[in-house]
Amino acid sequence: MDDMNWSLRESHSFDRNTIAEIRRAAQTGLYRIRGFGAKRQVPTLDDLVFLGASMSRYPLEGYREKCDTSVTLGARYASKPIQLKIPITIAGMSFGSLSANAKEALGRGASELGTSTTTGDGGMTPEERGHSSQLVYQYLPSRYGMNPDDLRKADAIEIVVGQGAKPGGGGMLLGQKITERVAEMRTLPEGIDQRSACRHPDWTGPDDLAIKILELREITKWEKPIYIKCGAARPYYDTALAVKAGADVVVMDGMQGGTAATQDVFIEHVGLPTLAAIPLAVQALKDLDMHRKVQLIVGGGIRSGADVAKALALGADAVSIGTSALIALGDNDPAFEEDYKKLGTRAGFWEDYQDGSDPAGITTQNPELASRLDPVKAGRRLANYLRVLTLETQTLARANGKSHVHNMEPEDLAALSVEAAAMAGVPLAGTSWIPGQS
């Protein structure tokens, strides 16, 4: 950029990214498939601020007065609900998309902080079961590796209807990641481009789903909490229907949610931002008198304790993290800058999770690359990151005078833009105006 001619003017409509994509499309005839999550700018939780305490509110003492972070998930019907020490869970990510070492590291880090991890498409591995004190078993349309023994080994079951990166889309795992072990777990030929279905094979719609949930509960003796995970498509109705179908927990995943491999056009152009999804899901629960009775977990672009606290203040019971957890493990680490350059990218820009060539050894099945990730050290980094998220969340809760993180509320928030005020349903900062409500 140093030798840039200042008279050159880049088009907003046809900027360099757009030109590069048109050229790539013209050369290959294929849409772009990539990992990571939405990169476009959308209204986020950053567009909210906490008001804090002052004359009219009484703050709690930092480091001294207790601010509880515990969460119980699934008490609606399950005889053995999940008890989390922190309101932050690890989102579903498959062995196949991630290396076995990465799955182990996620389990180690989460377990150290007393929270749960989640399996993904492809079934449960002994590594993640062994290293996760609380493991949520995803029940997906593909049913790869699904079996009743693993179902019973799980601490909760998450029926996946969709995910934030691609509401309405199925999964894909490209051939370079379908190694012998991955292929065997998924009952597929080695090396093929594997497609995961976008609809479940044996139920259609919430009435069927209610019966499917009955079957899962009967098979697991009504012990396990049952989550329903949706991408943020129509959060009000999706949440209401999930409650109607019998969910113990609703997981709502905004469009910033990550993926291992999805069409770029899907990642960037389908689904609602997390900020917009939370209030709609909460409203559905309140209208059904189910808020706090059916728990709400929110995911999609959660990065900091501020994001966690704002999601909880808007009414979520917990959040889930995926992309930020991988970054904590070592994804996009500048230490691998030379390797990133060889792949035509840079640390901080790496998004080709589908490719299997991850220099950090996380989104790969290549044994040499996977061995770069020490699951013990990476697990420790994740634990540290979760500690920071928790401390930050508590700091903000205390600043608003709350002795439990669930006591934060929309009244503690103001919005910095008209868009955020309308989406979050909180007043525009400096006003009492909530667009659409007043």
């Binding site: 290959t28 005839g29 294929l30 593909s142 049913r143 699904m146 079996n147 009743p148 179902l151 894909m172 490209l174 051939g175 998924r186 009952t187 597929l188 030929p189 093929i192 481009d193 497609r195 279905a197 094979p201 044996d202 139920w203 069927d208 019966i211 499917k212 009955l214 079957e215 009967e218 098979i219 697991t220 003796k221 009504w222």
Partner: protein, 233 residues
């Protein structure tokens, strides 16, 4: 059913579904223990999650997911079965004397499902290794995305049979005029004739000639995503 053994009768008009299932799912029972379930009245999720070598006979029609995720047990439904009968079966045998609704045997990893009547749409969808024998016809989109295992149809197959098939095998005695994407008729070799005969025998199909069947499988043209295949997607 084996003779000369104690039969425990479970009456769904007197007991709850939970109590009946809990009894059937209970800790290891003597091999061959025999249960008869009466008055099922279309109950959903009946006899699901079984995991021991027991025999269960259901006297009447069942709802969704009967014998779902079955392992080791032999379940006979004397009537019709609703959606997803024997879904995700791991092993054992499920036999239905009447017709079955959609998604029969969906995603089954093992075991044998025998349907004496007809099967509706999506029979064997996403099959992962189980065997299904349907003595009547099967509906549209049967064996969609089936990965492994076998479907045998003594009657006709509906539209889009075997769409996006992987390594699963299909044998049809009647018509299969409309095959799904990447599903093709294949040569019937000796190994296939032997396998088919064994399945027909296991399903008690009587005097049905293997020579009357045609074999279908994947052309494997869609195993790698290519722009040239866009018309097929």
């Amino acid at each position: 059913m084996s003779g000369g053994q104690n039969i425990e009768v479970l009456d769904l008009s007197q007991s709850s579904l939970r109590d009946v299932n809990a009894l059937l799912q209970g800790d290891a029972k003597p091999t061959g223990a025999f249960f008869k379930v009466i008055n099922p009245r279309g109950a959903h999720a009946l006899a699901c999650g079984l995991d021991s070598e027991i025999e269960v006979e259901v006297e009447g029609h069942t709802g969704y997911y009967c014998a779902g995720m079955n392992k080791l047990a032999r379940v006979v439904i004397k009537g019709n079965a609703g959606q997803g009968v024997a879904e995700n079966m791991m092993s054992g045998e499920v036999r239905v004397t009447g017709d079955v609704s959609q998604s029969a045997g969906a995603t089954a990893h093992g075991g044998l499902l025998v349907v004496e009547g007809n099967a509706a749409a999506r029979c064997g969808i996403s099959l992962k290794g189980g065997d299904i024998v349907v003595k009547g016809n099967v509906g549209h989109m049967s064996m969609f995305m089936a990965q492994a295992g076998t479907l045998v149809v003594l009657g006709d197959a509906g539209d889009a049979l075997g769409d996006s098939l992987y390594e699963a095998q299909i044998y049809v005695r009647g018509s299969a005029d409309n095959l799904g994407a990447d599903c093709v008729e294949k040569e019937m070799r000796e190994e296939h004739r032997e396998k088919l005969q064994a399945l027909l025998d296991k399903a008690d199909c009587g005097e049905v000639a293997v020579s009357e069947f045609k074999r279908y499988g994947s052309a494997r043209a869609l195993y790698h995503f290519k722009p040239d295949n866009v018309d097929a997607y």
